[in-house]
């Protein structure tokens, strides 16, 4: 995969054509410094999660009551919490449940929303009506309230929090996919495929879905910020990841009581949530500029 | 060409864009004069004809770099004019008609009000006076029931009527120069004739200078007095419309020979052979 192969005038295989397209898309992405910053932070999050054992200075679960409520210093970079656990190490390990929630939600919500929306948009008629009414039911409830209801019913915990958040997020994707499908449906290239005898299924997956993907990907990255905040909200209420798991939202909650005199306990988890949310937002904006087929 | 001073005088007009692939020159040194006559600028996509029209009115995209050795309108230097001065000139002394009236008209405003607004903005008239002038203008573009049409919205009028409304809107301030960019391309052939007849009448009656930009060589040759053919940002041919059949530049000849003609059947259409020398 040399530079010449990527920038060749004439592509000689399907692989080369796709690789070239991705390469030029990547170059366009690099021209947006904020988006690159967002990507860097997200990449950093991933690395921190993977290399947590090596990046943390101490055991995040080790309690040391003699060291409780220490201010940030040489030994504890972010200070300690009310039972003497090192805050820095907990933040580092906290990247794992955060990343887990975000990836799981997106992996569930993306495909389901895409399929429901695309099928509804393409089929039209009764199928569309039924699917959209189902979507409307879910949309009628405020996100956090619905998530709370599910978690209350299913019981607190990380997995249940993921399911709850997914159930509140998928309708937005379905609507988006349906809107894109409606635009695409009346295109001449779809008509051409129909004239050639392509089945509806083939048209849906080879023609319609690729046109929906860019908007959906962007929406997914932008949603991740919201997902993190919802998860933090659940954690804050004690309904997400359970103690002693170092989930950032839960950490934010437990630091509440000590906010005035021991500010570091809530501030650092709060900053982490803010930075990661912002990064996903910037990444999403940058992706939108690159993936928008209209800019081609 | 009349001995009277030209209404519009352009020399050395250049429009360039900076793209990631280098500098792209849309217009490369264009020179022409327009008196009280109809000048047609013909070209295909990418020839720079539309950009020329826009550059005269300083309506080129902000990323464009426009420069000209001379850009004079009725003795005034347009190139040196301030943005404020250009805004005063645009719409009042120089008007521009665009291709698709549906895109150029405000979809939520009644068409009559848009014409009235065009008048009121430049002549500082009262609402009643503007309305009267608008109705009068709609009648001049041969709209039979101006009062009824005044209250319609753009989506309620047909393409031909929309174009007539746009002409009304652009001519109500009584400009001296009219730039029309593909004004009839989106219209059916029979409607086109009607709209052109109206334009013909108005231009004659008011002694307007008209710059007619189009890709339709035949149309320009039959409607205008003089024809300028553009290719790759340059004017390659300049002649009287009546003499177009005797054009000398190979590009023009190539175009003429590749067009199918109702009155001249051909076994096979000639294919234009582009000569890289034309880009020089």
């Amino acid at each position: 995969m040399s530079a010449a192969w990527l920038t060749a005038e004439v592509a000689e295989s399907a692989l080369q054509a796709t690789a070239q397209r991705l390469w030029f898309g990547w170059l366009r992405f690099l021209r947006n410094p904020l988006a690159v910053a967002g990507l860097a932070v997200v990449a950093a999050l991933l690395l921190v999660a993977i290399f947590a054992p090596w990046l943390a200075t101490q055991d995040p679960y080790a309690q040391d009551l003699a060291q409780r409520l220490q201010a940030p210093g040489a030994h504890h970079w972010f200070g300690t919490d009310q039972v003497g656990r090192d805050l820095y190490s907990r933040i580092v390990y906290g990247s794992r449940p955060t990343l887990a929630i975000v990836s799981l939600v997106v992996l569930i919500v993306g495909p389901i929303g895409l399929v429901v929306g695309a099928v509804a948009g393409y089929a039209g008629g009764k199928v569309d009506a039924v699917l959209m009414r189902i979507t409307d039911i879910f949309l009628a409830f405020p996100g956090l309230v619905l998530a709370l209801a599910f978690v209350a019913a299913l019981g607190p915990g990380l997995v249940n929090a993921v399911i709850a958040i997914s159930l509140t997020h998928w309708p937005g994707f379905a609507r988006l996919a349906r809107a894109e499908t409606l635009i695409v449906r009346s295109s001449d290239y779809i008509a051409a495929s129909r004239i050639q005898g392509a089945s509806a299924l083939r048209i849906l997956f080879r023609h319609v879905v690729p046109m929906c993907l860019p908007t959906l990907i962007v929406r997914m990255t932008l949603s991740m910020a919201g997902v993190i905040l919802t998860a933090a909200g659940l954690g804050f209420l004690g309904l997400g990841a359970q103690p002693p798991s170092p989930e950032w939202g839960a950490m934010l909650a437990s630091g509440r009581r000590f906010l005035i005199d021991y500010w570091w306990m809530s501030t650092f988890p709060g900053l982490a949530i803010m930075v990661v949310s912002l990064a996903f937002n910037l990444l999403g904006d940058g992706l939108r500029d690159v993936l928008d087929p209209r800019s081609e | 060409m009349s001995a009277a001073p030209a209404v519009l005088s352009v020399d050395g007009l250049r429009v360039a864009f900076d793209t990631p692939h280098g500098v792209v020159e849309a217009v490369r040194g264009v020179r022409f004069d327009v008196g009280r006559e109809r000048v047609g600028i013909v070209g295909e996509s990418g020839s720079g004809k539309s950009m020329t029209g826009r550059a005269i009115l300083r309506l080129a995209p902000r990323t464009a770099r426009v420069e000209a050795k001379r850009l004079q309108f009725a003795g005034e230097d347009l190139a040196a004019a301030s943005d404020r001065r250009m805004r005063a000139i645009r719409g009042r002394r120089i008007s521009m008609i665009l291709q698709d009236p549906r895109v150029a008209l405000n979809p939520v405003m009644r068409v009559g009000e848009q014409v009235a607004e065009a008048y009121a903005t430049v002549r500082k008239a009262s609402r009643a006076e503007a309305r009267e002038r608008a109705l009068d203008m709609l009648a001049q573009v041969r709209i039979r029931d101006p009062r009824r049409v005044y209250d319609l919205h753009p989506h309620q009028v047909s393409g031909g009527m929309g174009q007539r409304i746009m002409i009304a809107m652009m001519l109500v301030p009584e400009p001296e120069l009219l730039i029309a960019d593909e004004p009839t391309s989106a219209l059916d052939v029979t409607v086109r004739m009607q709209v052109l007849a109206i334009l013909d009448d108005l231009v004659n009656r008011r002694g307007l200078a008209l710059v007619f930009i189009s890709h339709d060589l035949n149309l320009v040759a039959t409607f205008c007095d003089r024809v300028l053919v553009m290719y790759a940002g340059r004017i390659v041919e300049e002649c009287r419309a009546a003499e177009l059949a005797r054009a000398s530049h190979p590009y023009t000849r190539g175009l003429l020979e590749s067009l199918p003609r109702l009155d001249a059947p051909r076994e096979r259409l000639a294919v234009l052979q582009r000569d890289p020398a034309w880009l020089a």
């Binding site: 004439v10 592509a11 000689e12 295989s13 399907a14 080369q16 054509a17 397209r21 295109s187 001449d188 290239y189 008509a191 051409a192 129909r194 004239i195 050639q196 005898g197 089945s199 083939r202 023609h207 690729p210 046109m211 087929p293 081609e296 | 295909e44 996509s45 041969r142 039979r144 059916d188 052939v189 029979t190 409607v191 004739m193 009607q194 052109l196 007849a197 013909d200 890709h215 060589l217 035949n218 149309l219 040759a221 039959t222 409607f223 190539g254 175009l255 590749s258 067009l259 199918p260 003609r261 109702l262 009155d263 059947p265 051909r266 096979r268 259409l269 000639a270 294919v271 234009l272 582009r274």
Partner: protein, 265 residues
Amino acid sequence: MNALLAIEHLSVDFGERRGTVRAVDDVSLAVGPGESYGLVGESGCGKSTVLRAICGLNRDWQGAIRLAGDALGPRRSPAMHRRIQMVFQDPYGSLHPRHTVDSILREPIAVHGLGDTNGRIRGVLDQVGLGPAFRFRFPHQLSGGQRQRVAIARALLLEPQLLLLDEPTSALDVSIQSEVLNLLADLRRERNLTYLFVSHDLAVIAHMCDRVGVMRAGRLIEETTAARLREGRADQAYTRRFVEASGGYDRALARAFADLEEAQA
């Protein structure tokens, strides 16, 4: 003459109940095998709707459509898809923006299980005058004329008998139009294709077609030949006006048109 395509009393309605618009009103015509039949008219006359009904894109039509004697229903069988194909007006919209030319041309072959994919693709690209360098390009890397050639190639892959052409050169530059028209004329001769050619441009129609049908407001008001059109002879006043208006601007003519418009309600 044994018609390849026979349309009898075709009517197409859009909208429901009170808002119904009759886009095509009792149109009947026949196209012989190897013939090129032109349908000309202004926008909204229904000529494109006729094409859409024939190829199966529009299913709500009444009347009869027969291909070589076989009656067509609202839906098309795979076999019928192989016999009728269409080329669209907008070269920018008829190719999927995210598929390479290769991928676009693969589809009909895959859908009908024809085999010899590489051979067929190379062959058809050659036929439309595009070399192998174009095979892995995306539509946005092609010019308008090149895209239209790919669209024609795609239509030819299934080796149809009848090719429906919906204003195939209207969106192209004049200098490209002649190439594409020449290509279409050559292909018809080489493959003994039958064309139903729709356009609003009378000069193009007269060049490409033998017989011509003039449509107005959904009705087929006159059937004539290219030769008669060239001579300016026509039965209907509308057709005569159409021919005259196609000759470019004429002040006296325009006056006549204006008076005509005043006379209409």
